[in-house]
Amino acid sequence: MPGPGFRAPAFGRPRNDGLCQRGLPHLLTTYLRRHTPFWISILAGIAIWEIAGRSTSAAFMVPFSETVRQLWLFMWSREFIEQFLDSAELFLTGFVLALVVGAPLGLLFARVRALRVGVEPYIMILYATPMVALIPFILSMMGFGFAPKVLVVFLFAVFPVLYNTVEGARSIKPELIEVAKSYRSSEWALWREVMLPYTLPFIMTGVRQSIGRALVGMIAAEFFLSATGLGQLIMGASQNFDTAGVFASIFLIGLIGVGLMRLGLKIEQHFARWRQ
């Protein structure tokens, strides 16, 4: 029963650690205390990059400042934006396809044991295979179009989603499935009301892992199938000894990858807020 001093309305908005009530100076010191090692590490990394870049030939490596300057120039280059959007299209198509196929298939595997046991060896083999090695095969089967490149991104990205979904969905407490059955849930309602909400945080873990792999797949497809997008840009810059262009492109891909993974983590935490 609720105790006398209990503020029931606080429920539903879990884990606000009350920073906002203590004023700005406190907020600032807390932030600094938590993130000082982070910023020291970042600044040190930039410093080392800068020094290393300045003390080697521009043909091998460019300093941080030069990379950022090149990136800034790229932002205003029409060709770069076009190539960037080209890559983004490839990445998103392959990645969304991986999610749309991986997550439902994972739930199905978790629900139908015979299917999982039957298909698992193939999935394990494919998961363990270096996808780059499959690219020549995909090339000879499907040629140079958009579809084979999407397939490469898809193959890079699908397995972490699939794998995490299966493992997540299998860890549902049997009691919750029993509750659903006892309340005469339909199979569709069981998926919608129980399996999917329970598994969402696991799916998001897979998604985060997939983001990195999909970016690798994107560049690999652009390198080894028809050269387009950022992959083409990197290769072109590399052949012209435009080291700044190479660095700026790679740096940008890294930043996007980190940003997307952070976003994925936020979404994962949102869906996992009921886990205690």
């Binding site: 029963m1 609720p2 029931a8 309305p9 429920f11 539903g12 879990p14 407490k173 009691e175 919750l176 029993e178 509750v179 659903a180 059955k181 006892s182 309340y183 005469r184 849930s185 339909s186 309602a189 009301e193 129980v194 909400p197 329970y198 009921w274 886990r275 205690q276």
Partner: protein, 278 residues
Amino acid sequence: MTSLQTTAASNPGTAAAASGSEPRIRVKGLGKHYGSLEVFRNIDFNVGEREIVAIVGPSGCGKTTLLRCIDGLIPFDSGEVLVGNQRVTEPIAGVAMVFQHFGLFPWKTVSENVAYGLRMAGAPKAEIERRVPEFIKLVGLAGFEQAYPYQMSGGMQQRCGLARALAVGPNVLLMDEPFAAVDAQTREILQFELLRIWEERPTAMIFVTHSIEEAVLLGHRVIVLKGRPSGIHEIIDIDLPHPRTRDTLRKPRFAELRERVWSTLMREAREAEFVLER
């Protein structure tokens, strides 16, 4: 052992007759195997329209399995279960179960959990909006509508589980050791809460427990499961008057009945130990 079983099996339904109506649940010759392990056999008993039957037995005697068979959650190998005139082969409407570990969906709030059964039953939205607050209030959770299970104590979680079961308006309640996972004081509070709610809305109820005291306090009859495979060892009429309150616990008759169930179970426990030693 066989003679005991036959004498015990000869008196099902006496209290059901006393409650003055057709039995709501009829369990006839129920038997269940897990592979080569026979869990129970020849389970026969009835539960009246407004009767609480408590089932006690040592752990591992198949009480919970029996309850799941009656709910239609798991198949049985022989016999049949009738609820009203309906044969149970899968969970049926009008029967609600309360689970030992509450069985709440942790991503749903109290309101959403209580609404779950109604939504699965296809109740119209207006009815859900009317009934959910009503039952949250009935179990004493008003003010906690938006709380998630992890924010509540075990006792409050089970109140929520109870509200979810009651909200569908069941005429049969199946209770699977519902208070086994909460602390002793809360357990006592919940027992009397359950009695209060049952007096308000009497249903047929099967209450599985390993607490003798709880069985005697709640049940109109107490079924003692015994043996390997287990069968009904004895059905004990609990002739304590209703409504039962804290005073009931102090009555000499309560102590007598508790002793009777206890000695029956201890005889069982010693035999179980004997089997293990061999």
